[in-house]
Symmetry: C2
Subunit: 696 residues, 2 copies
Amino acid sequence: MNETVLSKPLPLSAFHITDAFWRREMELVRNEVIPYQWEALNDRIPGAAPSWWMHNMRAAARRNAAKRAGKPWIPSAVAKELRFEPLPEVGQAPDPDAFYGFVFQDSDGYKWLEAVSYQLIRQPDPALKATAQEAVDAICAAQEDDGYLDTYYTLGLRERAFTNLRDHHELYCLGHLCEAAVAWHQATGQDDLLNAAIRFADCCAEKLGREPGKERGYPGHEIAEMALIRLWEETGEDRFLKQAEYFIDERGQKPFYFDIEDHARRGEALEGDGTGSAYHQANAPVRDQTEAQGHAVRAMYLYSGMADAARITGDPSLKDACEHLWHSAVEEKRYVTGGVGATHIGEAFSRPFDLPSDTAYSETCAAIGLAFFARRMLQLEPKSNYADVMEEALYNTVLSGMALDGKSFFYVNPLSCEPEACKTDARLGHVKPVRQKWFGCACCPPNIARIVSSLPQYAFTSSEDTLFVHLYVAGEMELTLNGKPLKLKIESSMPWNGEVSLSVAQGKAEGTIAVRIPGWSRDAKVSAVTLRNILTPGTPELAADEKKETEKDGYVYLTGTWEKGDRIEMFFDMPVRMLAADPRVRETAGQVCFMRGPVTYCTEAVDNQAPLHLWRVDPAALADKLDEIPVRDMEIGGVLVKSLEIPAYRVLQENGEGLYHDWHPRKEIPGTLTLIPYFVWDNRGETEMQVWQRCR
Amino acid sequence: MNETVLSKPLPLSAFHITDAFWRREMELVRNEVIPYQWEALNDRIPGAAPSWWMHNMRAAARRNAAKRAGKPWIPSAVAKELRFEPLPEVGQAPDPDAFYGFVFQDSDGYKWLEAVSYQLIRQPDPALKATAQEAVDAICAAQEDDGYLDTYYTLGLRERAFTNLRDHHELYCLGHLCEAAVAWHQATGQDDLLNAAIRFADCCAEKLGREPGKERGYPGHEIAEMALIRLWEETGEDRFLKQAEYFIDERGQKPFYFDIEDHARRGEALEGDGTGSAYHQANAPVRDQTEAQGHAVRAMYLYSGMADAARITGDPSLKDACEHLWHSAVEEKRYVTGGVGATHIGEAFSRPFDLPSDTAYSETCAAIGLAFFARRMLQLEPKSNYADVMEEALYNTVLSGMALDGKSFFYVNPLSCEPEACKTDARLGHVKPVRQKWFGCACCPPNIARIVSSLPQYAFTSSEDTLFVHLYVAGEMELTLNGKPLKLKIESSMPWNGEVSLSVAQGKAEGTIAVRIPGWSRDAKVSAVTLRNILTPGTPELAADEKKETEKDGYVYLTGTWEKGDRIEMFFDMPVRMLAADPRVRETAGQVCFMRGPVTYCTEAVDNQAPLHLWRVDPAALADKLDEIPVRDMEIGGVLVKSLEIPAYRVLQENGEGLYHDWHPRKEIPGTLTLIPYFVWDNRGETEMQVWQRCR
């Protein structure tokens, strides 16, 4: 494998963000989301469902203290195997020693801590650090002496730990703990949480593996794969890489572990055919999987871990599997908003090309997972298609998940929404027409917090001799090329404008800067002005073979000596694009949608007369005039975005024709549809929304 | 109220069917469905879910005998309140004394018996009658000494009878028992089943009503309303009419009875706001209901009873309510196949204009209920719109419910069906891509049997001086007009051809024959040739005022003296119609469907290249050329139907464009879509189907 292309995310400490767009999001996370979530983790939000996170941690700490003191500890009555989300009876005070919440509740705090760590790297804050330390201390105190750390079992039937990996999320919690611990270590240099993660990872490894006396188990909800690789990267301890590889390689082997486990629990006959394991991506060895299936978040997390492992081990069969799964997820099962997981049944992928708009699931966490997967595919092989999809997911569904004031969240991100229908129709019961304050199952809000807080790691990766610029995020960067330090400055006003520059502010180094040509740009211009020569790929000044070297898979590779004053100027034109879906997508046949740059647009009834489906556009007339479409500044929720004004027609309601009548051309009047970025929908009150516009 | 227009169905004994189309269906029911269902009721179908009907009846008879003999009878262990569809554990022999099946299982046999009775009226058959007598005897033996007749409670906790009218179907079973008893009485002149019905009706009336000491209950699943009215008509006993009126008038009054009942059972606080009662059409007094809501079959049965009561009592407020509910169900919530009840959630009406094709519920029984309602609205006021909808329901969804060989049945009738999707997608779990042999909940097959067997009662109704011809069913009819007997002969080859004649074969009488102008006919011609004069409505021979008299609400009224040799000739042109839905129907925007006469058409992948949604028609080009569309004979499952050949275009799949790409006109090739009648779909193996054709 060509080592040059394998890259790692830029350390967060090496980037100072100045980007207007993403800096706002990061500040929102810092100033709104993180403090709010801390209150939520401590059950101090009036009217919101309790998180029980701190409650569980504190109870587990008391349990550990009692055990050390040799005092008896009787598991609470609510500690029953297979119980999911136990809650106190209405009107009852909670049992202070009982576990409450989902079985994976521990992970909510870990995600929060990971986001806080990223924010602390970006900008130290003693008060925030002190708060986070409180969480870290609570976690460490909740850890049992043998390293076990999952309050669901610690407060319950501990002897049943590791007996239901399929449904109970011990290894999922391990994964999030590792992610948090690495981030906390990088933010503070402290070992406390890192040691907790190492001890829990070792505790798990004692039970699970191929060695005699161990069970051949693996996670029911993946994430430990990529998280253990991070732990390996941070600690250099090879056993964590081996553990990750074991989880990946063992998955889906016969006999199916989840069936064995199920059999042991229930004493029933073994199914043995893996039925039901597709939900967990465990119905076949991962190298034999070609279709993205099952729970979308789990799938994305698994594939991310596989891509990490493929990069590190150089295993071509694993890389092949990642490419097949990428194709399936992205080219057959992805919404135009970068969302994945079309069906609420199992929060899962549906069949290829089944992408319904109104019943869409498109969970925020799944889009986040798609960004994880894409970034890792980029690290494995820099192809701009991966970055295009990552960008699409980030700018659309990930951001749609959070209100512009950072105070409410979508779990489900539909592509069309009629509020009344969502409220009265159980078939749409999973779709909320307005963002919610906090979920009982609060996976999405802290997940948004951690990806937004670590955004530069998605924008930039680097190898020994190459900096890859995947996303144009403005800021100041420190890096080394071939061991020599450089300071770079990136200027950009993405996603609203395609003019970007990258200049060397300090240092001198030889090497390559590879910049991505976005897939949405039709006429990209990249030119490098150095102190010695002008590199302009594709212009007659360069010989044909030089050009070949400088552009590959959507990246322009600029190689040379870089020093202060050197500059790369880029102009990515950002036309309004009118897109159609593959005709195999039944749902959107005869419909188009609009994008500009990476931003997907939608209509809202607050700007356009409802019902929105009575509007149509004429794509044949529009196709040649897309550059005439007005792109206007619009303020939504205090944020300036670009709106589009699309010529359209509105069908007039004719009464008295009956429900069914002889076809005739509809009476319609010309008008203008105002489109806004999808990620800002539902920030002006409850209203109808649709991404796809009808053509007839 | 004008008594002339109020009409009653023609007695079945007065009509001898010769109609090629409907006679085939009746013979199918007689020769296939009825014998098969008898085997099913007796649990003698290998591989099919048992019905338990005869099992339950026989067990109840033993229980009654034991009680009479003073022997103890201990309810079986499976007799538990609120248990729904108890079944023996796998591998266990059923308890001979236990109740099995749904709580409404008794009604399956009643429906069967009703169908058998209609067939016996049409054509005596001692063997069939003997079989039916076995069923009648079993029912009578199952009746308790106090008249109570519901094996679910007789075999279980009898003391809890009448305590859960909402969910347990005692009054539903009463209704079907009355319907069967009246039919059996008409077929055989025997009182046995009629007495059982009378005794059970009286037993119910002792418990329920407004009198002191009674509960103000009414049916959770309606039908008793119209059934008791039939019992009144057959017996002349006014108490049954009063009982029906009570059920109608009490429904939805505050405090809500189902809440009171629920409270009494569970001991919990009373909701009191009727929440949840909309499913049962009990959230408001029936005269205040304007929107068709809740379980579609229940709604249709209630509205049918309301229309009966409105006709008999002359209550204008009840007639108003019926008209509002008709409008809502038919003009806002009806599929173009005559199906109603769009959502599988609660087998219910969805909101207005929500008529999805693939997830449609459109239960066969609901279309049957729509025909019931329509016939009763016709009896109340002869307007051809009622007959148009009745005809549409009968020729499309009702018949779609049964395979052409009478051996398998649809419960759900989707308007588009991708078999693979139905099998793998839980969101479509209710849609079966092929008809099923017999359902555990077997309401639809015997319901089809009873409506098909009594079809002439939907075609013809009469008052003292008027015969109303709603549907053109060929046959020989005996009737009296103003007390004088007439024999008529009707010739028709509906639904394939619009030439119809009605001639007087014998007798002489004065009066009116009112014939319906079908809504689908664009250029209807009706002329009457009598021995004395020629009545041709609308021709210059008739004075303007005479014409006015002769046509009203879609019926041509021909009044005079009728005697042998008189003849009415009708020609209803039957153009291929290309229909669009009201634009408020989001699902079918930009789509058209095709009908010819009352028959709705669809495409199947067995005739047209799949996937069907890649085909489009050009409505603007077709609109003026509909009369050029070839209408061809086609044999499907041994039955000759008419197919349509529609010019269309098939989109070509272009590879390598990506899931989303810049819009461009699709490459497509011209071709021809073969359409077949919807009611014959899925008779040539599992295949994709769609009713609505795309325009782009």
